[in-house]
């Protein structure tokens, strides 16, 4: 099955694109999608411990299951607000 992946900020820059598609097996979770992505873009791999994720525009967990046609977003550590 195929999912759409959205990337933001430094993840977007490292992958060179804001959005791509990823083929994963039935039963895949968001963690599976990340593993596929990190294999294709090794520069993303170090972010594995600090990212969070969203599924179809809602916060999700890496263990959440994905379905064909879903959109998964990976979020590097955030820095909005005032510093």
């Amino acid at each position: 099955m195929r999912v759409t992946v959205q990337l933001f900020a430094r993840l977007r820059e490292l992958a060179g694109q804001p959005e791509l598609t990823c083929d994963v097996p039935e039963g895949a979770t968001i963690a599976t999608v990340w593993q596929e992505l990190a294999a294709a873009y090794p520069a993303l791999e170090p972010f594995g411990r600090s990212i969070s994720c969203a599924l179809n525009e809602d916060f999700a967990r890496m263990r959440s299951s994905v379905r064909d046609g879903d959109t998964v977003a990976f979020l590097p550590p955030v820095s909005g607000g005032a510093w």
Partner: protein, 164 residues
């Protein structure tokens, strides 16, 4: 006139409409509005000793708006009867421009101050917005907290700061 309470926008921000909106929303609701606390975050000229030329905020807009609405629900749980509004700017910002504006209204000042402080702390913890700083000699993404809305310890830290 009513304003959108929770907004992520490329347009310049103004605090006055938010302050007016949260205040008027408590009129006629017992015990009424006794305090409005506002916060404005600005683009600072230096970051850790380096001179900032400008910066850019990037957002996952639909999720960022949902996170602001989530913060509102958290505020309602901790300080019932508070009216809250948050606008966050994205895109390219110059030094001295407002990046975020928050208005919190409540019957009493303690709740208004606490809700306003809590809101900015939570934005920094969970709202998917990223700051990209441009210096004379380079650029850098600012990476703060791993956004985890289920991290109760983070929420407790924000609450502790708000009530300090």
């Amino acid at each position: 006139m009513s304003v959108t309470r929770f907004l992520v926008t490329e347009s310049p921000l103004a605090i006055e409409p938010l302050a007016a909106d949260v205040e008027t929303s408590l009129r006629g609701v017992d015990p009424g509005c006794g305090a409005v606390c506002t916060f404005i975050g600005y683009v600072r000229a230096t970051h850790q000793g380096r001179r900032v030329q400008h910066l850019e905020y990037e957002a996952f807009v639909p999720l960022a708006v949902k996170s602001l609405e989530r913060i509102d629900r958290e505020v309602q749980a901790d300080w019932p009867g508070t009216a809250l509004a948050i606008h966050h700017r994205i895109g390219r910002l110059a030094i001295g421009e407002a990046s975020v504006v928050i208005a919190a209204a409540s019957a009493h000042r303690a709740q208004a101050f606490a809700a306003c402080r809590y809101a900015i702390e939570r934005i920094k913890q969970i709202t998917p917005i990223w700051k990209h700083e441009f210096f004379e000699d380079g650029q850098a993404w600012v990476e703060g907290a791993t956004a985890d809305v289920e991290d109760e310890a983070a929420r407790e830290r924000a609450r502790a700061v708000a009530c300090a």
